[in-house]
């Protein structure tokens, strides 16, 4: 029978156990991931299975690394996401977090745009580091993304997003993530996109100041607009922004983008009350 071992087609004996394949193909491997989930050495592989064997501490070749990075994905997802392109308008708390999540998920191309540079007050919620202070945010973000997933193509634009350049920047994107801080900029982007890029889904972040109140953060859809946040907590004097709540909204945006790109995850079905994660109280 044929199986995929570290994304190479190989022949394996029917009834072969993971331990035998480790011995033959990757002696010393301790991490065994079968079809996206860790498995035991005693596990028997079946026709068409996708087995990933990783030896801890060993730095894989660049070719192999790309496949190993998506070992924990549901099979078939990585190939679809590699072909996708997501635009991220603004690289602050929302944009930097969403872009990194999408890069780790393996979205093939990211278009990131922001006019600003990293400064100390960004670091309470944005995915930058002290040594990056002074760098354009798009450059700093590209650097972080490349460190996490070097296979993502990052198209970075160090400029101010204005109505005149929205179409040229994001016209080829499958989804646009609105990730500005200021309401008037959010409005500019959404109005322009709804006028010029009428078919492109837009995922907006709206309302995530403060801390706590997890349950108020939600995603609402109207046509091809998706709104993530509580739609009420406005940042302003006396009401700051913090990493967890901004990060939650940003990850909701990234998660929504994945659902738009891949369709609803068939394994997550609210009607399946017997699923173990829903049963637990």
């Amino acid at each position: 029978m044929k199986i995929y071992l570290n994304e190479k087609h190989i022949k394996a004996e029917k009834g072969a156990k993971v331990a035998e394949l480790v011995k033959e193909h990757k002696p010393g491997a301790e991490v065994c991931v079968l079809n996206g989930f860790p498995c035991l050495m005693e596990h028997t592989v079946e026709e068409g299975d996708r087995l990933v064997l990783i030896k801890k501490g060993e730095v894989p070749s660049k070719n192999e690394l790309e496949h190993l990075l998506s070992a924990r994905h549901t099979p078939g997802i990585a190939e679809k996401l590699k072909k996708a392109c997501v635009g991220v308008a603004g690289c602050g708390g929302l944009g930097s977090t969403a872009a990194i999540a999408l890069a780790r998920a393996g979205v093939g191309r990211l278009v990131i745009a922001d006019y600003d540079v990293v400064e100390p007050s960004n670091l309470n919620r944005q995915q930058y580091f002290v040594y990056q202070i002074g760098l354009p945010k798009v450059e700093a973000l590209k650097e972080v993304i490349k460190k996490a997933n070097p296979f993502v193509k990052v198209e970075s634009h160090h400029l101010r997003i204005v109505p005149e350049n929205v179409e040229s920047l994001f016209g080829r994107c499958d989804v646009i993530i609105e990730a500005f801080d200021m309401a008037d900029q959010k409005q500019m982007l959404v109005e322009t996109a709804l006028t010029t890029l009428t078919k492109t889904p837009i995922v907006i972040g709206s309302g995530m100041a403060g801390y706590g109140a997890n349950d108020l953060l939600r995603t609402r859809r109207t046509g091809n607009l998706y709104i993530c946040g509580d739609e009420r907590s406005e940042a302003g004097p006396g009401f700051g922004l913090m990493a967890p709540r901004v990060g939650m909204a940003a990850c909701m945006q990234a998660n929504q983008a994945l659902e738009i790109l891949l369709g609803p995850d068939p394994r997550i079905d609210p009607s399946l009350d017997s699923s173990p994660t829903r049963r637990g109280k």
Partner: protein, 65 residues
Amino acid sequence: MIKVNGEEHPWRQGLNIAQLLKEKNYVYHAIIVRINEKFVPPEEYDVSVIKDGDNVEAIHLITGG
């Protein structure tokens, strides 16, 4: 009757977006309005007449990010 952000709202002949936003006390400075999922630019709020049964959405784009 019309729907405004998912809630029922009384309709009357000639009701436009500007009047509706005032009635709902939607005074936030960054709002995107859609009627039946069609975007209405702010410069058309005074002339954009709402029909009975329309689904109006006023999406508040809240500062923070």
